[in-house]
Symmetry: C2
Subunit: 556 residues, 2 copies
């Protein structure tokens, strides 16, 4: 069987100018980065402002399991299918992070015959956006410690600096460090920590900014810490928002690439899906809407995290009106949710499936509560039995939810035709009463309770004393009227990773709140979230090879 990178390298790739021409862009609208990548100029939106936006489709999924769901693959397959049907469609996706590429998870460009190419370039450096974000972030960090060393005029409380350092690497040794050792010439010693770059607030900001000035204003508003009287300190106090924004002047431009079937894809931004909102940039989505009839996008993790944040944070900030939600499910993953042993997943097990499908049910309910048309996509595996597939189909039909078998991994766009037709049909014929889950004017506690009760199905919320103290601070300084970005395990709809399926009878404990004032949301932490992954004993890096001609193998 061919590997993803083999399939990708054998594809007939078009020059990026041909892809740009397909969506009516002229040479002035973009900058080439090599032959197969381009950065799109921001004035494309202005130039096309008279045009009607296309329809917005969100691809989300059931709660992830080790069996995998294939959300990106379905997203790519769906846009390929739409184009096969003669519809103008653009997918808007997140950029991969180098950490997982060399660690365990691999890249993020889809799989099989539904991939975005050139996959090596996209997975390694791409157009340098993550590097720019990393440097921008670390310049703030360096200036904080430099300010302290040079007299600390702002009276920064060194025990309350919220802004860490970042690196685009899985490097657990940098999680807990002590910096500034070896005497005053080397700064003031303090505890510090590196996050992976995608966890940077700069990444979240870049993904929610609509212009260079918007970006600069958001950077100015970042609260990096507190002074010894407890007052929040902003990046504008360091007077470096101009330099930080200058570092991001290219990174803010969305990137154009193509699928294996030479249809346009915009890949831009990729914030963490727990301590941030987990969606590609607002500019990328807006450009996809402006330049196509069907813009297809995705959000990190399952619908309880990714979709909720997409709808309550990204759509709210950007005034987006989604038209439909696709929930990706697999037979294997649903059987795992039904309690089946992960080693026996290849065997038919209708009992486990019948039990596990409650996970899908809850996500369907949640999306319908947002007032949106829902379509279920069963991402097919060769081990799925006919009886299992039938069961899901019948189950969804009972719920009056359209459901399509989807084989985009093996068949590319052809494998997504049924899904594409259903999605188009829903958008054209179903009612859309999209509404946010909560009002930003609600209190912090009310907003979190709403998410926990209505989305997670929990009984209530427990705020630790630490969390209550932070809520008080946020209220005091007027940071309470922001949307909530929930940070919890992705492995369960609850805050307990062991509770599979559709958990009930639980309360969610919020032990910390973090302010992302630049991005414009409050992160509510349910449990401790690792924002710097580690490498496994045998990292994927050991499998990568390159020949004299520069051809790479072993990337996945």
């Amino acid at each position: 069987m061919k590997t993803d990178i083999q399939i990708a390298q054998e594809a007939k790739i078009l020059h990026i100018r041909d892809i740009a021409a397909k969506i009516n862009l002229s040479e002035e609208d973009y900058d080439q980065y090599g032959r197969y990548k381009a950065k799109l100029n921001l004035d494309i939106l202005k130039k096309n402002s008279h045009k009607k936006d296309g329809k917005l489709i969100l691809v989300t999924a059931i709660t992830p399991t080790p069996a995998g769901e294939g959300k990106s693959t379905v997203t790519v397959g769906l846009t390929q299918a739409m184009n096969k049907l003669g519809k103008k469609s653009i997918a808007a996706l997140r950029e991969p992070s180098l950490g997982p590429v060399f660690g365990m998870k691999g890249g993020a460009t889809g799989g099989g015959h539904s991939q975005v190419i050139p996959m090596e370039d996209i997975n390694l450096h791409f157009t340098g956006d993550l590097h720019a974000i990393g440097v921008a972030h670390n310049l703030i960090s360096a200036c904080i410690d430099n300010h302290i060393k040079h007299g600390n005029q702002l009276d920064i409380d060194v025990t309350k600096i919220a802004f860490k350092r970042v690196m685009d690497m899985n490097d657990r040794s940098l999680r807990n460090i002590v910096i500034g050792m070896g005497g005053i010439a080397n700064g003031i010693p303090r505890e510090n920590s590196f996050q992976i770059t995608v966890a940077s607030e700069i990444m979240a900001i870049l993904c929610l900014s609509e212009s260079i000035m918007d970006l600069k204003n958001r950077i100015s508003e970042i609260v990096f810490g507190y002074d010894r009287a407890g007052k929040p300190l902003k990046v504008s106090d360091l007077k470096i928002e101009g330099a930080i924004t200058a570092l991001l002047k290219e990174a803010i431009k969305p990137n154009l690439v193509q699928t294996l079937e030479n249809t346009p894809v915009i890949i831009h931004g990729g914030p963490f899906a727990n301590i941030a909102h987990g969606c590609n940039s607002l500019l990328a989505t807006k450009m996809a809407l402006k330049l196509s009839d069907y813009a297809i996008t995705e959000a990190g993790f399952a619908a309880d995290l990714g979709a909720e944040k997409f709808l309550d944070i990204k759509c709210r900030k950007g005034g987006l009106n989604p038209n439909a939600v696709v929930i990706v499910a697999t037979v294997k993953a649903l059987k795992l949710h039904g309690g089946m042993n992960s080693k026996e997943l290849k065997e038919e097990n209708l009992e486990a499936l019948t039990k596990g499908i409650e996970n899908l049910d809850k996500h369907i309910e949640n999306m319908k509560n947002f007032g949106l048309p829902v379509v279920v996509a069963i991402n097919k595996f060769v081990t799925d039995s006919a009886a299992e597939l039938d069961f899901i189909k019948t189950h969804c039909e009972t719920l009056d939810v359209p459901v399509a078998l989807c084989d985009v991994w093996a068949d590319g766009g052809d494998g997504g035709i049924e899904l594409a037709k259903l999605v188009i049909d829903e958008i054209e014929n179903k009612e859309n009463n999209f509404k946010y889950l909560y009002k930003v004017e609600d209190s912090i506690e009310e907003k979190i309770e709403k998410i926990v009760k209505d989305i997670y199905g929990g009984d209530g919320v427990i705020f630790t004393p630490n969390a209550k103290k932070m809520i008080k601070t946020l209220n005091e300084y007027g940071y309470d009227k922001l949307p909530i970005c929930m940070s919890k395990t992705q492995k369960s709809i609850s805050d307990n990773p062991k509770l599979m399926g559709r958990p009930s009878g639980f309360a969610v404990t919020i032990n910390e709140l973090r302010l992302s004032a630049g991005a414009g949301f409050i992160v509510a932490m349910a449990g401790s979230i690792l924002d710097m992954p580690g490498l496994p004993k045998i990292p994927s890096a050991e499998l990568i090879y390159i020949d004299e001609a520069g051809i790479i193998s072993g990337l996945f």
Copy 2:
């Protein structure tokens, strides 16, 4: 008076395809990075192998002082002048590092009317080479600590890991750190350190590699540390040379840009000029030679450091035959070397000049000892008096060294015509007996003594016990037949930064040797070298501004 960035932004910039066309490159020979930058494909060298190489000119300088010499400005001015004279000339320069851009020194694209453009892009990220080098370096670091955490099969001695981490930032707080704290899940605690990215051995390797396979072999050979029996451990022991090389597959390609006068410039690589060899990449220089009649390049710091390493390391590795050396001097700097107070430099002072010119004399002698024709370029300042300029001219004429007044800062190429004519004349009419200073087969001690006595004019070398121990290890493991990369202060020809002019009666103390087995040289440390700069109280970052259209100001 206009700032450098204003002059740069007002220039008429050509599309990079027009610059490429000037040196007979077709679209297959390069990849565009935006409109004004391109990466040159490595097979250009093979495709043009039948063509004769152009002449190679090195621009170096007297010992640097706070008054500045303007080596890059003269290099850019000289290539502009050559082109004005109808000669095909390409300059090959180093890439700027972001650290100094936001710290104090500023960018590295020349000045006034002798600059390389687009200066903002070149100074900020450029085509991402430094970022790629940083990630490649830090992946090795992460894999070292990961290996130790997962059982340390290689028996790595954690107290003898030579390979640090890097960041492209002036961040003194990262000079001395403790990593891996907080329990075994976060690795094994140990002391560690960040260098600025240009100090990475990967940078030195990239700049000495001639192909992707050469690059991979050199990466394999990096000695990152020692096992507990004292045996050197290589990156190939970690099995990640493929992944590291894959990360550098674009970074190894030289970058094409242009001067203010639309002449071609290749900018590629920029290793530290003390713990590394301080020259742009061999591939960039070879391409400049292949694609022009006069390739003009420079090397870091003064001739005792930059030129010596250029000739003994870079030219030796690459089989380059330089044709002439230009030594840049300024009246101000020579007066400083003559003991003048830095606040009075605007006043005429022939006495100080007469004393200080001995610094220039020593550098001229050194370059002549390499068997090379030498030309002196006096980089003119408005404060220079006619008598001072005359004195230098007469002095050089007495030494039978051609000398040209050079006003490329104010006049661009026109200000360098005299210099260009002299350089061409020397190359065509003077004998060239280029030879290396030492043989690599000499012992480590002999090689260092030769540099200290013949180049620095010192009486001898003192090796500390620590240095002697390392020499023994290098001999034992067969790492002694490598060229020497001297790491000493750039402020004096001696190892004492306070000794200006032409020091004598001193011995140089070598207190440490470092092995750069991948780059292929031994670093001899005379004094402690700071490989992670800090930010000043008011960093340049505070002066940078960007407007809605993305136009940057305040970069210099």
